[in-house]
């Protein structure tokens, strides 16, 4: 069984890295760091609001799967702070290359959650237009989106754009060759890319200690850029550090790596059975570090939380969950032959003929 520590110790970036200096050894914004970051009460309330909404949406998606309405679902509980914090910290011009568990990132970017679930419902492959949201498709082959982000970022640099490109991935993906290769490329080409590892301690059943011997954040030094390990259950810390790192990247100071340490509170997907590989005892220290509770505590400490706000947020969350269910269940599948139109921009005649044969095969034969 895993004996993970609930309190991540921060891995400092290079000595001259002012971002690392904002953090305590535990990877949380220090009091001084919080003052420097200057995150307003309203911004913190916005983080809280979106985290609560996304937890409701996540729970509703789980319900939909259990009711047979979705083929599968990968719960995001435990990732609210990493995904909401990182997404809201970026500007709309920044791009995000997410992985498959980044439901919250998509919602935070403005994608209709029901549209996103049509992917899990098997109605479509394309849940959103990447160009509209500056959000690449969530990639299933683990880690293979990381080189895409680096290439895209290299292109932004060639075009002289002041853009940061965030690519997210899990602790499992950090083992892939693509992750190492892409970080190396980013270092060599000084690509404006922010590597954002959502370390949730589990790659399906494989615990972090069987996945990674050293520190993921520590790898950045080997690729020639700074990296920090932060507390990924604290939305404020995630928000402030991602915002600072993205600004550094936009200023042309090269790539950056953030390892946001959190915990996957649920199963890998609805097809998974975590009781086979981890006990309740593993979960306990992390349940006390629930991202939503932590954010509420921060709001209370600032005097920025009250019952009315809480009630309002929950009402909104419930309404959006109901709306998501209704929209999803009303969603129509694409025409089954539509996939033929999506293979190429300029399809060869042979494919057009295959499409026509397929379409004809759907017609009633009349016999």
């Amino acid at each position: 069984m895993s004996n993970v520590k609930a309190r991540p110790r921060a891995t400092r970036g290079t000595p001259s890295d002012p971002i690392a200096a904002l953090l305590t050894p535990e990877g949380v914004l220090s009091a001084d760091g919080e003052r420097q970051a200057g995150v307003s009460d309203e911004q913190l309330r916005q983080l809280y609001r979106l985290m609560v909404v996304c937890r409701h949406l996540d729970q509703e998606a789980l319900n939909l799967q259990r009711q047979g309405e979705l083929g599968m679902w990968g719960p995001i509980a435990g990732h609210e702070a990493t995904q909401v914090g990182a997404t809201l910290a970026l500007t709309p011009g920044d791009w995000i290359f997410p992985y498959y568990r980044d439901f919250v990132i998509a919602v935070a970017r403005g994608v209709d959650p029901a549209a996103l679930l049509t992917w899990y419902r098997g109605l479509t492959y394309a849940a959103w237009n990447p160009l509209e949201y500056h959000l690449a498709p969530g990639i299933i082959p683990v880690g293979s989106q990381i080189p895409h982000a680096v290439g895209f970022a290299m292109g932004c640099a060639l075009d002289g754009e002041r853009v940061a490109v965030l690519v997210s991935f899990g602790d499992g993906a950090s083992s892939t060759g693509d992750c190492h290769e892409a970080m190396n490329f980013a270092g060599v080409f000084r690509a404006p890319v922010l590597f954002f590892c959502e370390n949730n301690h589990w790659a399906i059943s494989v615990p972090l200690r069987e996945q990674v011997a050293g520190r993921i954040a520590g790898r950045a030094a080997g690729y020639g850029f700074p990296g920090v390990r932060i507390d990924g259950t604290d939305a404020l810390s995630v928000y402030a550090i991602v915002r600072a790192a993205a600004e550094r990247i936009r200023n042309g100071q090269g790539p950056y790596l953030i390892e946001a340490v959190t915990y996957r509170l649920g199963p890998h997907t609805t097809a998974d059975d975590p009781t086979r590989y981890r006990s309740e005892a593993n979960l306990e220290p992390w349940q006390t570090r629930d991202p939503i509770q932590r954010c509420a505590e921060r709001l209370r400490a600032r005097g920025a939380w009250d019952e009315r706000f809480e009630a309002e947020v929950h009402a909104e969350a419930e309404e959006r969950a109901v709306d998501m269910r209704r929209t999803l269940l009303a969603a129509q599948p694409e025409h089954p032959g539509h996939i033929f139109n999506l293979v190429f921009q300029n399809p060869p005649d042979a494919l057009r003929r295959e499409r026509d044969e397929f379409t004809a095969s759907l017609e009633p034969t009349g016999g």
């Binding site: 082959p141 895409h148 290299m154 292109g155 693509d178 999506l342 921009q345």
Partner: protein, 328 residues
């Protein structure tokens, strides 16, 4: 434009196509291992970095998966990447990127993100190399939906196909017959871009059709020359495009000759010849005078250099296959 005939090698024709693409389209980028100052191990990118700067023609770290992976990202950004894999079997580390991302991104993005990119791969044998330098991986790519796969056999086609591949909005696997890099041809450098889905009749004939592509077109033409001396007229079809297959051109030829032999360096088992034979048999069952013959390598790893000639198709093996179709 005045017509100037110049003698160029196939490798130089590729170099000229890359040069002209860089010149004509500021979004074209060229990258890969050693493509910069060295000009590539086969010198196909010779001089391009000096002329177009290291922003547009650049070396990458030695990591094929991410060479293909950054091509995806650059294509999303609206660039037209032309990536080089140094050798056929060195393209395999990029296989996941090519099959799972390059080939599928257009579909996955609902058509919003075209993959206007080219991956150049020198392939095939006859260079006396140690293992991994001489393979023919075309079936892997041809079998993957979402890719276009083309291969030239002459300098003129090298220029015309590569120009078209770079301009095409879809991902193209561009297979270069490395043993033919030094094949020479007199050509007018104003070669027009070629369609990416049409075969070419390389030699007209009446008694049997020899279907070849890339490095084996020369083998087929040599066989046709010998056959002609023996009084047999062979038609040679150069596929040019492996995906899609130009079945119309193949069928028209075989309808005339009633006999077909497919020649490739890849192993016969599950090779492109299997698909071609199946299609011809299906479409021309009543016309064929004999089963379609296939000539290729054995189902073994690419053999050591000392033996490669015994495994690769040569004119004699092609002629023996033609004889089998005529004696059936």
């Amino acid at each position: 434009m005045t017509t100037v005939m110049t003698t160029v090698t196939l490798g130089k024709a590729l170099n000229l196509a890359l040069h002209d693409a860089l010149h004509d389209d500021p979004r074209v980028l060229i990258f890969g291992e050693d493509v910069g100052r060295l000009g590539g191990v086969f010198r196909v990118t010779d001089g391009l970095q000096a002329e177009f700067s290291d922003r547009r023609v650049f070396n990458t770290p030695l990591a094929e998966s991410t060479i293909a992976g950054i091509a995806v990202g650059l294509a999303i950004k609206g660039f037209r990447p032309v990536a080089e894999m140094q050798f056929d079997a060195f393209s395999y580390p990029a296989f996941n990127q090519v099959t799972s991302n390059v080939a599928k991104y257009h579909t996955r993005s609902g058509g919003a993100c075209p993959m206007q990119l080219v991956i150049r791969i020198p392939y095939g044998g006859h260079i006396g190399a140690i293992e991994h330098h001489s393979e023919s991986p075309e079936t892997y790519y041809a079998h993957t939906a979402g890719l276009k796969v083309v291969t030239p056999s002459t300098p003129a086609d090298a220029y015309g196909l590569l120009t078209a591949a770079i301009r095409d909005p879809d991902p193209v696997i561009f297979l270069e017959p490395k043993a033919r890099y030094y094949l020479r041809q007199d050509l007018d450098l104003a070669v027009p871009p070629l369609p990416l889905d049409r075969a070419r009749i390389a030699r007209e004939g009446t008694d049997a059709t020899v279907i070849a592509y890339g490095p084996t077109v020369q083998v087929a033409l040599a066989a046709a020359e010998t056959a002609a001396a023996e009084g047999t007229s062979l038609e040679v079809v150069d596929l040019r495009s492996l995906t899609p297959l130009d079945i119309e051109t193949l069928a028209a030829s075989v309808r005339k000759t009633r006999r077909a032999v497919v020649v490739h360096e890849a192993p016969v088992f599950m090779g492109l010849g299997a698909e071609i034979a199946a299609r011809l048999m299906h479409d021309l069952f009543d016309v064929l005078a004999a089963p379609v013959e296939r000539v290729g390598s054995a189902t073994v790893p690419y053999p050591p250099a000392r033996f490669e000639k015994l495994f690769l198709p040569d004119a004699d093996r092609v002629l023996e296959a033609v004889d089998r179709t005529r004696q059936y």
